[in-house]
């Protein structure tokens, strides 16, 4: 699993358009949005996935709000572009801007916090209603290392996830439990043949030519 931190700037965005013509392996890029109340450990989860760190940060890590990570599944190189969102209630209404055009979303809650689970449910509802229809949603019960003082039962969350067609795992950014697994599960569930098409449609819902010819598989 290679870490590919973005060089940033225009060159960074430019690579998003590179076609996969030269390589044999398929390569896809997916936009993944993190949703969840503040302090449930969204950014810790991502930092664990991307940098393998918890609490000890490298100097180079300037922010945990936007991170990228590339993983390989079978013959496909999947590049995740992870967009963090502000979890505070007052910024709730801004979230659609972030999950617009996202192929995947992880809704995070804290197993010690019933409120965060309820918030997670509203996120899921909202995603179903407003995000692109084939978005892959995963529900992550974070802070699983503190399961002895849990409030949200595993079975309760599991049942909810099954009812709503979500991926579900209890994770721990602290111990690293299930962190890579949940991203891998998402990557497996994502359609890898032409992932870029979804991206194009959702940004310009007004356009008549929504199926603009985009021959490259990943954008």
């Amino acid at each position: 699993m290679a870490t590919t931190p973005r060089s940033g700037g225009a060159s960074g965005t430019g690579t998003a358009q590179r076609p996969n013509g030269t390589s044999q392996n398929k390569s896809c890029q997916f936009k993944l949005v993190l949703l969840g109340e503040s302090a449930v450990g969204k950014s810790s989860l991502v930092l664990r996935f991307v940098k393998g760190q918890f609490h000890e940060y490298q100097e180079s890590t300037i922010g945990a709000a936007f991170l990228t990570q590339t993983i390989c599944i079978e013959d496909t190189v999947v590049k995740f572009e992870i967009w963090d969102t502000a979890g505070q209630e007052r910024y709730h209404s801004l979230a659609p801007m972030y999950y617009r055009g996202a192929q995947a979303a992880i809704v995070v809650y804290d197993i010690q916090n019933q409120d965060s689970f309820q918030r997670a449910k509203t996120w899921v509802k909202e995603l179903h209603k407003q995000a692109s229809p084939n978005i892959v949603i995963a529900l992550a019960g974070n802070k699983a290392d503190l399961s002895n003082i849990r409030v949200v039962e595993f079975d309760e969350a599991k049942q909810y996830a099954e009812e709503n067609g979500l991926l579900f795992m209890e994770t721990s950014a602290k111990t690293g439990m299930n962190v890579n697994d949940i991203f891998l599960a998402i990557a497996k569930k994502l359609p890898k043949n032409d992932g870029a098409n979804n991206q194009g449609t959702s940004i310009r819902p007004t356009g008549t030519e929504t199926n603009r010819p985009t021959n490259n598989c990943c954008k």
Binding site: Y98, Q199, G200
Partner: protein, 689 residues
């Protein structure tokens, strides 16, 4: 922000803005309150009708388009300037409201300059672009194709702008976006680009976008048929009204007073304001990227780790509020409409741009609740009824003293807190001290109670007392005792006793002289050499036997442990003491009862005047003689008796040393004092009673 480029899903909290056609989507004011789809349909119908009409009248409009271009341009320009004048008026009226009118004016002046420059942009930049095109690492064939594509889009845009039909910004946006897709398709699949690397292809696409956008910036940036400028003014006014918002309201970790943090915020602000000064969407995005990087840097210092979106978004909102960038909506819309769609949808720049859009949306919709204050307070602050003061505001006003006051006030608050803390700690410390004191006294008391301090009388070994008594008893046999009794008896009797004692003593001299010839000679030599001679001489005059005197002294020293000073003192006392015998015996007698020098002094005072009575007549005449004799004899003795001369390096020392020498000569050590006593005893035994 409020254009149809955004999907309807963004219209949260504006439930009343649904499409007039009732399709369930939201409408926008730009589209006559219709949703974009309904508007498009309606618009297409209109256009079709227009085209039909045009077909009937012939190709008139297209030929006229060229002529109309410049007035069109002028009209556009004129409107922009008109808007800016209005803006300036607004800022003028709001000057009272203390927001950064000066800053705004300068910024607007800058913006105006840019607008003026825009008139003659193409010529120098076109050359530059041609140079850049030549530098692109793509085949010449590709370059030619790229240039062709650029020219084609250029003409298309101008044609659309100069067309007299109804204009819709979304149509224009689609036109540009389609061109982008086409170019991207060409670059990636055309055989003329085959040998180029992916990076070069990307830079070719970037170049295409940059050139077209820079050249057509004047048409595409806030076109006259959009409401961009109105929203610019609206948001600018709103931000100005919201100038009372502090970092605390936003739950943001920026320390407004920290100068280092403020510098970083200023960096972010200058980047944000700088967005307006770039032509191409890429450059605007890069500017946003730089601004956000500054914010992350700032947050990293404030929180100690990489900042998450929870920290970042409030900080960005704070920066936007404090920067109040000009033509905010125009810039945002320009980027959303005319940059390659993927750019704002993905990538780091896209993420930051999304955050900027969110920040603006938040600012436009915020209320008391979203700032954590009551709606009444919010209203009061918005209307300017409630006064406010923030260190940030004063800093922005560039009024250093006001800024200092605010800063000092904050510092004072801190100091006050600290002061309160200190005083509370002082009281607690005081309490502790009292406790400590009590504890110590308690402990001491308990210890004292356990082990009381009893001052026991000094125990003198019984055998010593016995010995001393025995000696004293011996002495009393020798008639001294009587003298002592006499002195103790009364002052009146002393003179009689003195004479009596003198009478008693004198007869005893003769035999003693003969018996102790050796002692005598040594005594004489010593007396001559030492300053004590004067003491000794009168003693000689009075008493024949010096030993007699010294025994008394020795008896004192036995019990008093004489130091050198004591000896000296005694030496001086000797002068008076020698005049009468009583004194000596007094001391020796009292020694048994731990007598002190004071006692002896008392005795001395008692007897001095009486003692002087007798000798005063005699010694004055005798003293000069002896002193003269001494001076002559000194030298003589020096030569005669080298042994004694060696013992006298200084004339003062011998006083003691010689004296000791004498006693040493007679009795070698202290233990021999008993020997002295024994000699005394002999002496005492010798004089007849």
């Amino acid at each position: 922000m409020s254009t149809a480029a955004r999907p309807p899903s963004l219209r949260l909290g504006q439930q009343d803005l649904k499409c007039r056609m009732g399709c369930g989507f939201y409408g926008t004011p730009q589209n006559d309150g219709l949703c974009s789809k309904c508007y498009r349909e309606k618009f297409h119908d209109k256009q079709r009708k227009l085209k039909q009409k045009a077909g009937e009248t012939g190709p008139g409009p297209s030929s006229a388009s060229l002529d109309r271009r410049s007035p069109q341009h002028g009209h556009n320009h004129g409107k922009t300037e008109q808007q800016q004048v209005r803006k300036e008026d607004l800022s003028g009226t709001l000057q009272k409201k203390k927001f950064t009118a000066v800053l705004q004016k300068t910024l607007q002046a800058g913006a105006q300059k840019i607008t003026q420059q825009r008139g003659h942009v193409p010529d120098p930049t076109e050359d530059q672009f041609l140079l850049q095109l030549r530098q692109l690492r793509i085949p010449d064939d590709g370059k030619r194709k790229l240039k062709l594509e650029i020219q084609r889009l250029d003409t298309e845009i101008r044609k659309y702008m100069n067309g007299n039909g109804g204009k819709n910004i979304n149509e224009l946006s689609d036109l540009v976006q389609n061109a982008y897709t086409k170019v991207s398709d060409t670059v990636h699949n055309d055989p003329s680009f085959e040998i180029a690397t992916n990076e070069d292809r990307d830079s070719a696409i970037d170049f295409f976008e940059k050139v077209v956008m820079t050249q057509n910036h004047k048409f595409l940036f806030s076109p006259y048929f959009t409401t961009d400028e109105d929203s610019d003014v609206k948001v600018q006014k709103r931000i100005r009204k919201l100038s009372w918002i502090t970092a605390k309201h936003l739950d943001c970790s920026i320390d407004e007073v920290n100068s280092e943090a403020r510098d970083l915020v200023y960096n972010a602000i200058s980047e944000l304001v700088g967005i307006d000064s770039y032509y191409s969407p890429q450059e605007k995005l890069q500017c946003t990227w730089r601004c956000c990087r500054h914010i992350f840097e700032l947050l990293k210092r404030a929180t100690g780790g990489p900042a998450s979106a929870d920290d970042f978004l409030p900080a960005l909102i704070f920066v936007v509020l404090k920067a109040n960038p000009v033509r905010l909506h125009s810039n945002i819309n320009f980027v959303t409409r005319f940059t390659n769609a993927a750019r704002v949808m993905s990538g780091e720049s896209g993420y930051y741009f999304t955050n900027l859009c969110s920040a603006i949306a938040f600012i436009e919709n915020l209320n008391g609740e979203s700032l954590g204050i009551s709606s009444e307070e919010f209203e009061a602050l918005m209307s300017g009824q409630q006064a406010y003061s923030t260190p940030w505001e004063s800093a922005l006003l560039a009024c250093e003293s006001l800024h200092l006051i605010s800063e000092n006030m904050k510092r004072m608050e801190e100091l006050q807190k600290r002061n309160a803390l200190i005083s509370s700690r002082i009281t607690s410390f005081e309490m502790e001290l009292i406790d400590f004191q009590r504890e110590v006294t308690e402990r001491v008391d308990t210890v004292i109670a356990k082990a009381p301090l009893n001052l026991l009388p000094i125990k003198t070994p019984a055998f010593l007392i016995g010995q001393a008594r025995a000696h004293l008893l011996n002495e009393s046999e020798a008639g001294h005792y009587q003298a002592n009794v006499l002195s103790g008896g009364g002052g009146t009797l002393t003179s009689q006793s003195l004479t009596a004692v003198g009478g008693l003593a004198k007869p005893s001299i003769a035999p003693e002289d003969a018996g102790l010839s050796l002692k005598d000679t040594s005594m004489v030599s010593m007396g001559r050499l030492s300053p004590l001679q004067q003491n000794i001489q009168p003693a000689d005059n009075l008493f024949a036997s010096p030993i007699f005197n010294y025994t008394a002294f020795d008896s004192v020293s036995l019990l008093e442990e004489p130091s050198s000073s004591d000896v000296l003192m005694l030496g001086s006392e000797f002068h008076g003491g020698l005049t009468n015998i009583n004194y000596d015996f007094d001391l020796s007698d009292q020694s048994g009862e731990n007598s002190t020098a004071d006692d002896s002094k008392l005795n001395l005072d008692e007897f001095d005047p009486l003692a002087q009575k007798g000798p005063v007549n005699q010694p004055p005449s005798a003293l000069p003689e002896t002193s003269l004799l001494d001076s002559t004899t000194d030298s003589l003795i020096d030569s005669e008796v080298p042994g004694t001369a060696v013992l006298l390096p200084s004339p003062l020392k011998p006083e003691v040393a010689n004296y000791r020498g004498f006693s040493n000569f007679d009795i070698p050590s202290i233990s021999c004092n008993t020997g002295d006593f024994s000699s005394l005893g002999q002496d005492g035994a010798e004089p007849p009673k």
